[in-house]
Amino acid sequence: MPLLDVKDLSVTFSRRGQRTVRAVDGVSFAVEAGEVVGLVGESGCGKSVTSLALMGLLPKQKGVTIGGSAMFGDTDLLQTDERSMRDIRGRDVAMIFQDPLSSLNPVVPIGIQVTEVLTRHRGLTGEAARKEAVELLNRVGIPDPSRRLKEYPHQLSGGMRQRALIAMAVACAPKLLIADEPTTALDVTIQAQILELLRELVRESGTALIMITHDLGVVAGMCDKVNVLYAGRVIESARRKPLFADPRHPYTNGLLGSVPRLDSGKGERLHAIRGSVRDVLPWPDGCAFAPRCDQRVEACVGEPPALVEDIHRHAYRCVNPESRTAEVPS
């Protein structure tokens, strides 16, 4: 049984006077223990909403409808009440965000924020909690940790803040960590440090990681499995190497062609995808990507393409996929 099994997750926002937004539209994926699973896609495709739904962090108000299931052991995260969810968050499942400043309390020193987590979930207090906090900051590579404990979030650099947040997230050795664009706001040399830290955590403590990113390079270097999202649905999912060697969905293929690579120079035109994510077809009317797709045939419009899975568990939602190009390593 997988550690986390998400089935048919959907999230709809409807507000009076506004168009209903189906932000997540039947997303399914699984995460095995100790595995790194990527959710990748361009802005607005539903990555953050997916993770917030799993963490029980979407506003509980009229107009927000969540459907499907997310089994974490015997618990369905989507059916858990707020009190139990608070116990699960931080202890079993933790999350880090793009902007660490927004998830740290600006008026409370880092040390107190870390020890609070330790007290809440592990019952550590006083000197024991302080020692463990120092140990944690040290582990995530914050120099001079006992001194940092007294500092406020704004006194740390962006990279150090993200480390502090990771320290809090891993304080209770959660089984699952969800990272939503954890390095997008950071410089590339600092990003490399944080990605290395996350790799180390996964390797050493066996924490599973859901890595949310729009950066295909990050995916290529980190993830065991990848799910590509478009307009709220998973349109392709595969293990890392087959996905990059042999993308079957035209959108995945297009994304790969769009990224300038360090090893391609001037004069080699990028293969851009035409139009923008605004040009979508609603899923019930056909493939949402059809208006931008070069592979489009008649069958693309009319009803949504089904998810097809080949013998290598490489799945794609397309009626006219890109032809296989490579002998696939698995």
């Binding site: 361009e42 802005s43 040290n138 582990r139 590579g141 120099p143 001079d144 001194r147 940092r148 704004h154 006194q155 740390l156 650099s157 962006g158 990279g159 150090m160 410089d187 590339v188 040399t189 600092i190 990003q191 490399a192 440090q193 990605l195 290395e196 830290l197 180390e200 729009h214 950066d215 295909l216 390079g217 990050v218 290529a220 270097g221 890392r240 190497k241 990059f244 060697a245 297009g254 994304l255 790969l256 062609g257 769009s258 990224v259 300038p260 690579r261 360090l262 090893d263 391609s264 120079g265 001037k266 004069g267 080699e268 035109r269 990028l270 851009a272 995808i273 035409r274 923008s276 994510v277």
Partner: protein, 370 residues
Amino acid sequence: MTETLVEVDDLKVHFPIKRGVFLDRVVGHVKAVDGVDLRIAKGQTYGLVGESGCGKSTLGRALLQLTPPTGGRVNFDGTELTTLPAKQLRSMRRRMQMIFQDPMSSLDPRQNVESILTEGLQAHGLGGDRTERRKIIAKALDAVGLPQWALSRYPHEFSGGQRQRIGIARAVVLNPDLIVADEPVSALDVSIQAQVINLLEELQEELGLTYLVIAHDLAVVRHISDTVGVMYLGALVEEAPSDDIYRTPLHPYTRALMSAVPVPDPEVEDRRERILLAGDLPSPANPPSGCRFHTRCPWAQPTRCGTERPELRVVGTGAHRVACHFVEQIESGEIRPHTVKAEVIADGAGSKDAHGALETALETPGGPGI
């Protein structure tokens, strides 16, 4: 040799750091740009890369005289800009245009596209009568791939990529020689980035434009540029033809930067060696002595690196310039990399607010993983 359009010589921009109740005391300077020399050849693209706060935007603005330089010279097609009287500078401006990262904040939301494009023409007394102007505008719109009906629309009615096209149209409508593009694609989704990069390349071929492209994304810069300059804390540390900098990065910082860029190819990612730099970027208000990179450099030596500032000098075949005392020995393997102690930089490196001083130096677990 190609003709030079822009020649920058020892350019400096130092911003005063003010303190006191009335901000009337100058307690120091942020040396945002501190002695940069570079040349941009006609019809070519010069790409400027570096991490946040290293002075890329300031250099671009100072080159266009939008920020007054503290020192140095900027020669544009034979005219010295730093001493040019305001009136002549104003008319020179038509020939040097700028494109920004966030097209939304640089476009007036109350102006429709037609009026955005007309404004520059009128300011420079171009385009004659109304019909003539309309023709010029229609052509610019066409060149950037926007439909004619866009003219009557407002910026918020467009997607991010289309807004960037409007920003580009506003620049090309004036028929400039030089375009300084500051992070032109970094706010865009990858599929849209590719469209805009392709558009910039097409326009260059059609109109013979010269570009200075500023970006923090090394892959973008490498893709679009003929020559690449790498900046670190206010100065160029390396400059070379784009292919050379990719194939044989020589400066330790460029090597680290290059090895840190994620490549969308699992085979490459699994094989590559990463040079992880320890610690944060130092503050430009309080840059390290000697070689500004010596506090993070895995190859730094006890002599010279901490005391003597290396000049940007030609290494090898002439077109490659590097500012490192020991580049030859590093290249030959005579000097080996070592672990570096991470320094803590108080308060967000690269953030636009107060820059604190650096304090302690301590061993970080997992220093450079080489």
